[in-house]
Symmetry: C2
Subunit: 158 residues, 2 copies
């Protein structure tokens, strides 16, 4: 389906001479998303240097805390990861004693995930750090702009 788009557009109203002429790099929306993400990621890591947690790890702790007993596959789907990637993250968190695996009564293939008390404590501190991080991020926008931005971003991944 993707190729057809390119070809039909090539015979559009004002066809560019060269299909590779996509303008300048600063006109690429994906480029802006990347740079914004990198900036947010970097500030996040600075804010979390004491806790030594990545964004993904915090997301996992948060989701497990809100959904105790969740399975790895559900987490993977929710966070757009595959199973192997999820394994690595869960292993690291379990190795640090923040999270534990348990059996699933209904389906013995599945494992259930819970935070340990240490994990809940770390998550609590992580949320305070996120509050600080979000303030840094949202200080650029009015409340209405934040809603607009979230709404536009959601259209990408839903």
């Amino acid at each position: 389906m993707r190729k057809e788009v390119v070809e039909s557009a090539a015979s559009n109203v004002v066809p560019p001479v060269d299909l590779s002429d996509v303008g300048e790099i600063r006109d690429i929306l994906g480029f802006h998303i990347r740079l914004a993400y990198v900036t947010v990621y970097r500030h996040f890591m600075e804010t979390f240097s004491d806790l030594d947690l990545t964004q993904k790890q915090v997301s996992v702790l948060w989701l497990v805390s809100d959904n105790p007993g969740v399975a790895q596959t559900d987490l993977a789907q929710r966070l757009h990861m595959d199973r192997a990637t999820t394994m690595g993250i869960i292993n690291r968190l379990e190795g640090r004693g923040l999270l534990r695996r348990g059996p699933s009564p209904q389906d013995r293939r599945r494992k259930t995930l819970y935070l340990t008390p240490a994990g809940e404590e770390v998550l609590k501190r992580a949320k305070a750090a996120i509050w600080e991080h979000e303030n840094w991020l949202k200080s650029r926008f009015t409340k209405r702009e934040v809603q607009t931005l979230m709404g536009l971003l959601d259209r990408i991944h839903t």
Copy 2:
């Protein structure tokens, strides 16, 4: 419509009793940016599976092509990387014969970067793929919404 109540309460003038009470994970702007980025990244990789290039590699090729003779440090600044990370990317591209290093006449500490003919050819095909990728991405928005989104995102990294 998602969670205006929680949102406004969390960022109200009166500080909440518990700093770790930041609402729900879906109210975190950084989380939305992350998910959008992951979705864009994944589609990008699918679109570029033939060319076997990452977003960062394409960004580097593009910037070097637009600024022949640029130094690694300039690239690093432009793409928000440190020097060591830049080295790795440049090494991979040079190893594939897409890019070459040269000396700098003015400052012998610096190296100058140029695309090889093969690199220019790959970039040309990459731009066509980006055009396709951007269409997939921008199809969700009106032209005005794209401008709005870019403007909001730019405020993050500038």
